[in-house]
Symmetry: C2
Subunit: 148 residues, 2 copies
Amino acid sequence: MSGNSRLCVAVHVLTWMALDRRDPAAVATSQRIAVSVNTNPVVIRRCLGQLREAGLVQSRRGAGAGWHLTREPESITLLDTYLAVGDDEPLFALHTSPPSDSCPIGFGIQPALRQVFGRLDEAVRRELATTTIADMLRDVLAQQPATA
Amino acid sequence: MSGNSRLCVAVHVLTWMALDRRDPAAVATSQRIAVSVNTNPVVIRRCLGQLREAGLVQSRRGAGAGWHLTREPESITLLDTYLAVGDDEPLFALHTSPPSDSCPIGFGIQPALRQVFGRLDEAVRRELATTTIADMLRDVLAQQPATA
DNA sequence: CTTTGATGTAACAGTAATGGTTACATCAGG
DNA sequence: CCTGATGTAACCATTACTGTTACATCAAAG
């Protein structure tokens, strides 16, 4: 797991941008986002690069450069985000080295597992598609401390 | 995720044992299973150890030792298997170092993500619970080559 | 046209997890 | 006792990920 925190960072970034755009004067830079995520700006730029490839954000270079969303937060789902930062590798891995095909189980296990893992993947995607960045922003702001 | 192939190996092992038990004379040893999975017997024993802790299999030591299922394959689901070999770590990881709590997003993002990731985990478990080792055995045998 | 501040990206290091391997103690039946 | 398997510690190579430094590139501002 899986291993990485890319989806987590990507959702953080997009949610941050969704909040930030409420202030028209604000400029979203990798530096400012990195402070919120508490990591290195390069990590943020790597993430933003993937989000740009997926068409979710755009960048402007030169002086006064920065980033902005290309769509309304209501139209960006976590599935979009997941696909954008997606490792190509599936949630669950098959055998590292192929099993023996001279054994009935070894021969048939991989196709059978692929079907199961495909259903798992599908279930995850279905669930991811039910939440948008706008939903995230609302939930995140609802978590604020009681201090007015 | 990503990352490991433990579930894959565990399902392979259990399915193999489900087939093997049809021959009353057969003895399931880590050595024989390792040949089918195409890996080292110690890897199989590590896996079987986890399955035993979960109560899915039992081992006999001494001469002529081996392993056997404690339940009918129809009653062992992939969720049982998943929980048995379960890493404690969730499918999707949160931030490696906690985000800035002086930023509204940084403050609220983790609880919000935990909710989402919890729903994802739930979806995966629901799906895993729908398939049994008996189902796997049937599907695996259905994959056999056409040669009679 | 130069300065400035950001993007874009390569390169590298430290950490952690995984799968595989060797080695060896332990056990129980023959 | 002998034998063949389990049980488990220890170790290694590989891989992936995060963080970091460094630097080229770009475009607006002055």
